[in-house]
């Protein structure tokens, strides 16, 4: 056995004249955490430090979150003994390459208020679980940001992903810049930049991102909420452009909105713009007539104290309902004048490149039928064999080139059907649906105002195309089927909201079925407490 008896005396100080800087990086696979780790090692070694770095890398993007651990101490003749993984409460610098990863670092105890400098990019890379929710599944970033800020001794957070993208490089470069700018490591800026140069790939872009992030991090204000991350204030509705006679009528409609209660004006103006854009000004007038009817009921039920909740909800959802997603709308959207410019921008096509655009359409017999005049459409629908024949003719995936003359013209012509839209089967059906839905809400309002507001809001359930649209409709129907049961209850609105939320939770609707069962059981037994306990 090898005997290394170096310590006969008690140590007076555990770390005489030296200390270990402990740094950890939490990144998502594919973000370049390994590159960042290599740079830090290089900068530290060049600055006279002994460094040990390690990680549990899987491979590339598929690994999810990955943690890197680096420890360093001024170099001496002896080799220091350093740990191979960061420990809770024992980290000096924590670098998180994404907001939720910063949250994860705090959860793991790797950020503590007594010593940790937290350098985090505040941008989001959504997890799969956030994306697959039918409604809005995005995690609450503001709370995480506030929490991680409190958890750290020092917090340097801004959107480093954006800085990297603007410089044309990976986030590792801007994280490295923020680390250098934070002065949390006792190295010269030149040592950091030399490490990037030594890496040798995409040096200029990396140095640009490094520089920008360096400035931001060394700026005292960098620890405060960066302006670019705050949600933009919603812009008002800009005035449309167009022929004078149309503009005059637009202004007349706007004048009607000016007479509405203040609370609903903004929403009503947006709604009006949406339905006029969808069809025409007359359609806008119809929209306002529907709002007038809602407003009248709202007034009659003494809505002032309720901030016109019913009217505001109607302004939003009636507009969405009236601007339904039909073939004409899709064709119109795909052939707008500004679309190709937008696509060029989105795909970052260089000036001298050509861009060809392919659309993925899959029409079914039902869609074609719904575009027939209402009478003819119903005639076909009533004959299953005819409908099936139609479906056989059209039901097939179609990849169409909208930059080509033929297909552009086809879609352009389809969009032109707008003039006859009111006579088509789809419109009849949508209008009927809107009328029944609004009637239910307005009938309910005098008895149960909150429930009426929620009935209006249930429109959110109807979205998508073909099967997804059918499922939405079916969910909408199932949720509203509970409305009569809930009308006599004070907490009826609350319950309907829960049903809607359950419906948005999963695709097949099993959460919704469970929630409806609960409502039915207490409606029958009259025991809401037991039912609520079950539902929660």
């Amino acid at each position: 056995m090898t005997v290394v008896d170096t310590r006969q005396m008690r140590p007076r100080t555990p770390f005489p004249g030296q200390h270990i800087i402990k740094l950890a990086i939490l990144a998502v696979g594919g973000q370049g955490g390994g590159v960042l780790s290599d740079w830090i090692v290089d900068a530290a070694e060049a600055s006279g430090y002994a460094v040990q770095a390690t990680s549990v890398p899987g491979v590339a993007q598929r690994t999810g979150a990955t943690i890197y651990s680096i420890e360093m101490t001024p170099r001496t003749e002896r080799m220091p003994v350093l740990a191979l993984m960061p420990s809770p409460g024992d980290v000096d610098i924590m670098i998180a390459a994404e907001l939720m990863e910063a949250g994860r670092a705090v959860m793991r105890g790797l950020v503590t208020p007594d010593r940790t400098t937290l350098i985090a990019s505040t941008h989001r890379m959504l997890a799969v679980s956030e994306k697959i929710v039918a409604g809005n599944g995005i995690a609450d970033g503001a709370t995480v940001l506030a929490t991680v800020r409190d958890a750290a001794k020092r917090f340097i957070g801004f959107n480093m992903d954006k800085i990297a993208a603007e410089a044309g490089t990976m986030i590792s470069a801007s994280l490295f810049g923020a680390l250098a700018g934070s002065c949390a490591l006792p190295f010269e800026r030149a040592a950091f930049e030399a490490a990037i140069r030594k890496g040798g790939r995409g040096v200029e872009a990396s140095l640009r991102a490094f520089g920008t992030a360096f400035e931001r991090a060394s700026d005292a204000d960098a620890t405060s909420d960066a302006a670019d991350d705050a949600p933009q204030a919603v812009a008002g509705v800009a005035a449309p452009r167009g022929p004078a006679h149309l503009l005059a009528r637009w202004r007349e409609l706007c004048a009607r909105i000016a007479a509405y209660p203040h609370a609903m004006r903004d929403m009503a103006t947006r709604g009006l713009a949406k339905v006029v854009d969808f069809q025409d000004l007359a359609y806008g007038a119809e929209y306002l007539e529907r709002l007038d009817a809602v407003l009248a009921v709202d007034k009659a039920t003494g809505a002032d104290g309720r901030e016109w909740a019913l009217s505001v909800a109607a302004a939003k959802h009636v507009a969405n309902a009236m601007a339904y997603d039909d073939v004409i709308r899709v064709a119109d959207r795909k052939t707008r004048a500004d679309r190709f410019t937008r696509i060029r921008r989105e795909v970052e096509a260089p000036e001298d490149a050509l861009v060809q655009v392919t659309e993925f359409m899959h029409p079914r017999g039902e869609e074609v039928c719904s575009m027939l005049p209402a009478g003819l459409g119903r005639f076909v629908e009533a004959r299953p064999r005819l409908l099936a024949g139609l479906d056989r003719m059209v039901n097939r995936g179609r990849r169409v080139r909208t930059d080509s003359l033929i297909w552009f013209t086809v879609l352009f012509t389809l969009a032109g059907l707008r003039r006859w839209r009111r006579r088509l089967l789809r419109h009849a059906r949508e209008t009927d649906h809107i009328e029944r839905w609004l009637a239910l809400a307005l009938q309910t309002a005098p008895q149960n105002y909150a429930l009426a507001v929620e009935i209006v809001a249930c429109r959110r359930l109807i979205k998508g195309y073909s099967d997804t649209h059918q499922r939405g409709l079916s969910k909408f129907d199932r949720v509203l089927s509970a409305a009569p049961l809930l009308a006599p209850r004070d907490d009826g609105g609350d319950w309907l909201r829960r049903l809607r939320e359950a419906a948005l939770k999963d695709e097949d609707g099993s959460a919704l079925d469970g929630a409806i069962k609960t409502v039915r059981s207490f409606a029958e037994t009259g025991d809401p407490l037991a039912a609520r306990a079950k539902a929660d």
Partner: protein
């Protein structure tokens, strides 16, 4: 072509006497092998050993210069079998694989090797994938060493110690005619550090020279009666020889004061964590100079009885730090002290957890508990009775919000459309019994696909469905990757299914590489590999073993075809296994291959088409049906600045590689028309330009005509 290239780093393998090597643990091990005059190397990839295999592949020239044979073995079992070269010939050989999965596969060959024993040093380097980030079942390699009597080295995790362990390992193996296992934990493999190098040594006897002068010794062959002699030999000769060698060479180490009333016995691999705990408790300094005596087992099997007895003499208690379970070392030391009547208490799993990784916190807690109980006077007041750390309120709040980030398919992965198709088949034909295998395709088990029930081992997916292969109302489905197929799937899964007339569907996911382990080539890889034979189609192999119903799909992104083929396999009256080979190149590898070529082509003025996908956000309704059939990192959702819209809409970011899955899925599942594909054409031809100009002119006129006849809200972000 492997995912990571070490072409630059392997130059470090040429360093000579007295130079300093800086780099990763894996590379250091390779350098150590060359310094030891190794004659042949091999292994099978799998974290953390993948990089070792990649290093070897990239170092072929250097290996060839030294006369070292390099083999990329078909499996761990094949790798272990290769060590047979060291049985009769005095040639040093080393193989590497992931443990314990690889050791499981290799155990047949390892047991035979260990029985007959070796003449040349035989080193088995096992990369221990245990604890955080591990992708496999949690077991110990220690048991394999014990059952076959293979010596087990577990060096301190720093490069000089690891390099020394390689050197010691060969010598120990030769001195005791026993194979030696070198255990390196995942973090040590990826450890960046430095060590002083020696010049590489050419093997005294190369395999080429050996093959020209064959030798055999009947008593080394595992056949009765020799096999019975081997077992006696292990105990009577090899074991004492090993103990003597380990003692004499001082392979285990003692740190800290000789005397003291307590001490710590630890696995070498635990050394840094133990020292960190002592540093934090104020009992060790930055260089590891400690007040608590440490006995570091760089050899964890066999144990050296008298070293342990000497260390424990005069001590009230010793802490045994042994990661994983069962606690073989602790039990052995306890039995040893009990037999000798020593009064020392053996403390181990009573203060440290029986199972799970010994992280920094676990070690701090465990060592702290041991010291507070048996030597509180050594501790400063704050460590003797530490304040209970306050659980920060914030952390528990975060747990409610911060989403998990499990692994998933990469951007553009060709396996995504396969599982999207399976999901569509499921919607139409109902759920099926599905068995999965090892490989990237295993991510199908996680959201959004949630397909696949079990995973029984590499290449065993279809075999694990055997009980269901008698058929029923619905056919069972099993999945196997190309890696698993060649590892052992062809015989264990496909051959097995043919022979037993299995009435099931077998889906072979062929992405041209052993992709999950880092993109190493396999037999069916389409690339030309300068030293390996590739381009052997899976479909041919499957037909060769007697499968009649075989469908080859050459573009997995064709979701509709994928779906229809699966449906056909589930319903065809054909008897026997139905095998679908779904082939498309791993996108990571493809991008790495194509990106530089494309960039060069653009620069040279050649025509290049680069597809990208996008979403018309005003056509997308935010139902996220596409996400539930994708999970692509580049397909995300974004919130619009529009109070009229409640739900975020789909959005595709710049990382999109234009694989086509979004469009195919939107089409096959009849989702929605919001996706578009934009083909960006660089250096277009002259006629293309002219046609585009014409098209642009006409479409602009038409669109402008309509725009002028209606109100235009384009300046309005809300519409």
């Amino acid at each position: 072509m492997a995912e990571r290239s070490f072409a630059r780093e392997v130059e470090k393998l040429r360093l000579g006497d007295g130079e300093t090597f800086h780099g990763e643990g894996i590379l250091a091990i390779t350098k150590a092998l060359l310094q030891c005059g190794v004659g042949y190397v091999g292994g099978y990839q799998g974290a953390p050993i993948s990089h070792l295999m990649d290093v070897l592949a990239d170092a072929q020239d250097i290996l060839a210069e030294l006369g070292v044979r390099y083999e990329a073995n078909a499996s761990e079992s094949a790798a272990a079998a290769m060590l047979a070269a060291s049985v009769h010939y005095p040639i040093r050989g080393a193989v590497a694989f992931k443990s314990t999965v690889g050791t499981n596969v290799a155990s047949d060959a390892l047991a035979n090797l260990a029985s007959g024993g070796v003449t040349g040093g035989a080193l088995v380097i096992v990369g221990e994938d245990y604890g955080e980030g591990s992708s496999i079942m949690q077991e110990r390699s220690h048991a394999f060493a014990m059952k076959s009597q293979i010596w087990l080295l577990d060096p301190r995790p720093n490069l000089p110690s690891i390099v020394k362990a390689v050197e010691d390992g060969f010598e120990l193996s030769e001195a005791t005619n026993t194979p030696v296992m070198l255990e390196v934990r995942i973090r040590a493999c990826h450890l960046y550090g430095a060590f002083e190098t020696k010049a590489n040594r050419r093997p005294p006897l190369t395999v080429r020279e050996a093959v020209d002068n064959p030798r055999r010794q009947t008593d080394r062959i595992v056949l009765p009666p020799a096999a019975f002699v081997h077992e006696q030999e292990k105990i009577a000769t090899r074991w004492p020889a090993a103990q003597a060698f380990i003692k004499e060479r001082g392979l285990n180490e003692l740190f800290g004061p000789q005397a003291g009333k307590l001490g710590i016995i630890l696995q070498g691999g635990m050394y840094n964590s133990v020292v960190r705990a002592l540093q934090r408790l104020g009992l060790a300094d930055i260089n590891g100079d400690t007040e608590v005596p440490l006995y570091v087992l760089n050899v964890t099997y066999p144990l050296i009885d008298d070293e342990i007895a000497a260390f424990c003499a005069g001590k009230d208690a010793v802490l045994v730090v042994e990661e994983g379970q069962p606690n073989y070392i602790e039990q052995a030391i306890g039995a040893m002290l009990h037999a000798s009547g020593a009064p020392t208490r053996v403390v181990g799993k009573t203060v440290l957890p029986m199972a799970g990784e010994y992280t920094g916190q676990v070690m701090l807690d465990g060592v702290g508990r041991f010291l507070r109980e048996y030597g509180p006077e050594m501790l400063a007041a704050e460590h003797r009775a530490p304040n209970r750390p306050r659980e920060p309120q914030s952390a528990s709040d975060l747990a409610q919000i911060v989403p998990l980030r499990p692994p998933g398919f990469c951007t553009g992965c060709p396996e995504r459309p396969i599982f999207a198709a399976m999901k569509l088949v499921e919607q139409e034909h109902g759920k099926h019994q599905i068995a999965a295998d090892i490989g990237c395709h295993l991510f199908s088990i996680l959201p959004p696909f949630e397909i696949g029930g079990t995973t029984m081992g590499y290449g065993l997916g279809p075999a694990s469905n055997a009980a269901f292969h008698g058929g029923g109302g619905k056919r069972p489905i099993s999945i196997i990757g190309d890696g698993g197929f060649w590892h052992n799937g062809l015989s264990s899964s496909i051959g097995n299914a043919v022979y037993n007339e299995a009435d099931g569907v077998i889906l072979v996911v062929d992405n041209y590489y052993s992709a999950a382990t880092g993109g190493q080539d396999v037999l069916s890889s389409r690339a030309d590999n300068r030293s390996k034979s590739t381009n052997h189609p899976i479909a041919d192999a499957v037909k060769g073993v007697g499968v009649k119903w075989v469908r080859q799909i050459d573009r997995t992104y064709d979701v509709a075809k994928m779906r229809d083929t699966l449906a056909e396999a589930l319903t065809t009256p054909e008897k026997g296994p139905k095998v679908i080979v779904a082939s498309s190149e791993c996108m990571l590898n493809r991008q790495r291959r194509e990106k530089p070529l494309m960039a060069k082509a653009v620069k040279d003025g050649r025509r290049v088409v680069k597809p990208r996908f996008g979403v018309d956000e005003d056509v997308c309704t935010g139902d996220h049906a596409c996400m539930r059939l994708s999970g692509c990192p580049s397909l995300s959702v974004k919130t619009l600045d529009d109070p009229l819209r409640d739900d975020p809409v789909a959005a595709i970011d710049q990382t999109c590689v234009g694989c086509g899955n979004c469009g195919e899925v939107a089409d096959a599942a009849v989702l929605c028309p919001s996706f578009y594909r934009a083909d960006v054409i660089r250096n277009p031809t002259r006629s293309e330009r002219a046609l585009a100009r014409l098209r642009q002119r006409v479409t602009r006129v038409l669109a402008g005509w309509r725009q002028r006849r209606r109100l235009d809200f384009a300046g309005d972000v809300a519409v």
